[in-house]
């Protein structure tokens, strides 16, 4: 077999790779658009009467989110087994964004931490590496760190909207999250950087709670019931 024939085979391999990447890019772009729509809905919680519509906003967000399920399943079907990490740079950012969106909805509805499995269920994506296409734990964690940042903003805006209880609950939640992250030995640079930023989110929320306390705006009932 001569060199040209052999290299033509390599070209085929390279082309297949390129073509697959192109397909992936297209699906990821759709996912990006869907994510943007979900995000736009959820952004309304920061607006003046947003906190009163949480239920409705979450319902709408989840409805839009369901479009992503199909898109993820389409994406998963493209990835040959054992090649998740070959292509995952393409969807890494989007995956982190979705983890964040799911964890935000989860928090808004239940004020609980969405576990890896919870997010997996919401996205209808496996969380096990063995299954090939999956929600990688690093991406999930990255989503949680985005959540902390969003909640620090929400704490500020909920005070503006006259809601003085939510910041206290956010504070507890993020403090717990912070505790969780401290257990991790992060090597990954971008995750570590985001984790450093978490400290500032914690600080910001703490300031809000402080402001409420100092002004006696912290509702007694809450601290007792908790």
């Amino acid at each position: 077999m001569d060199l040209a024939t052999v290299f033509a085979q390599y070209q085929n391999l390279l082309d297949a790779d390129q073509d697959l990447r192109e397909e992936i890019r297209l699906i990821v772009r759709e996912l990006d658009t869907t994510g943007r729509e979900v995000s736009l809905i959820l952004q309304q919680i920061h607006q003046e009467d947003g906190l009163n519509q949480i239920g409705e906003l979450c319902t709408r967000a989840k409805l839009t989110l369901s479009k992503a399920n199909e898109q993820f399943s389409k994406l998963a079907s493209k990835i040959p087994p054992n090649q998740y990490f070959r292509f995952n740079d393409h969807w890494r950012y989007v995956m982190q964004r979705y983890s964040f969106l799911c964890a935000l909805i989860f928090f808004l509805e239940s004020e609980k931490l969405a576990l890896h499995s919870d997010v997996g269920k919401l996205l209808e994506v496996s969380i096990k590496e063995e299954d090939g296409f999956h929600l990688d734990v690093e991406d999930y964690l990255s989503g949680l760190l985005q959540l902390a940042s969003e909640l620090s903003r929400l704490a500020v805006n909920s005070v503006t909207a006259g809601n003085y209880d939510l910041p206290i609950r956010i504070s507890r939640f993020v403090s717990e999250l912070n505790g969780g992250f401290r257990l991790l030995n992060l090597k990954n640079d971008s995750l570590r950087k985001r984790f450093d930023a978490l400290k500032y989110d914690v600080k910001k929320i703490e300031e809000v709670v402080y402001d409420l306390s100092i002004r006696g705006l912290r509702s007694r009932s809450l601290t007792i019931t908790k």
Partner: protein, 263 residues
């Protein structure tokens, strides 16, 4: 490819000079010696690189561990655990590395173990800062890596300073964490220490040490972050009406009901 037929060495022209036959056996054996010398060095260098990577990883983990300190109780426990982990590194990886250096000029291998040494200094200085509230000095680091008169890993002053420059980053994290937990005094104290370390480092006339200069930039940024954090704590604290100062005292007495009084 089929281009280079197996007969490639059956050349048309013979060599005009026949090198192999006239090869002086003395010279050949001399070069063989050279070869062994070079290989020995390269092999040792490679082993040192690997030990250094091990030390880096363990040191990083100790640093993470130390950031888990939450209060006095956890502090004692965690510092002891960290000390233990570092001692293991000293007894195993560092000890093996020291043995590699016996009879060698360590500068020859410094580039190989420098990353591990810096990370180790960062970890051990962070531990000592947390536990004893002071900055470990060069002699103390050196004594930890000295096993006997002959057996030690020399710690050059530049490497020490590079490790300390990295420490400032961890102190910044410690400080911001403390803000989040409301540990005001820790915040201010860390800021003060960080400022002193930074100024001490900046006052050095470094000559051509680019890496240290770069790290000093980062250290300056860390200091500014911490100063801003102190500022925030102060500005918030200043908001407390004078009338509340008494309450603030109560507060400092760990009275959990302080805030109910002003609802």
């Amino acid at each position: 490819m089929e281009t280079a037929p197996p007969k490639i060495l059956a050349s048309v022209a013979t060599p005009l000079i026949e090198p192999e036959e006239s090869f002086d056996p003395d010279i050949q054996s001399f070069f063989s010696d050279c070869s062994k010398k070079l290989d020995t060095h390269h092999d040792r260098y490679e082993r040192v690189v690997k030990l250094s990577r091990d030390i880096t990883i363990e040191s990083k983990r100790v640093i993470f561990l130390l950031h888990r300190v939450q209060d006095e109780t956890s502090k004692m426990k965690i510092c002891n655990e960290a000390e233990g982990k570092l001692q293991v590194v000293i007894n195993s990886s560092w000890n093996r590395l020291a043995k590699e250096l016996v009879g060698q000029d360590h500068h020859h291998y410094l580039r190989a173990y420098s990353p591990g040494l810096q990370e180790f200094i960062e970890a051990i200085s962070f531990l000592q800062f947390l536990r004893d509230g002071n900055l470990i000095n060069l002699e103390e680091v050196q004594s930890r890596l000295t096993y006997s008169e002959e057996l030690k890993v020399p710690v050059p002053v530049y490497e020490y300073l590079l490790g300390i420059a990295d420490l400032t980053g961890e102190l910044m994290r410690l400080c911001i964490n403390a803000v989040g937990r409301g540990e005001t005094q820790l915040v201010f104290n860390t800021c003060m220490s960080l400022r002193k370390i930074h100024e001490a480092l900046s006052s050095l006339n470094l000559g051509f040490q680019r890496e240290l200069k770069r790290k000093l930039q980062v250290s300056r940024q860390s200091l500014q972050k911490v100063e801003t954090a102190c500022y925030t704590v102060q500005v918030r604290g200043s908001e407390i009406p004078k009338e509340l100062l008494a309450a603030k005292a109560v507060l400092s007495d760990d009275n959990p009901t302080w805030n109910e009084e002003y609802d």
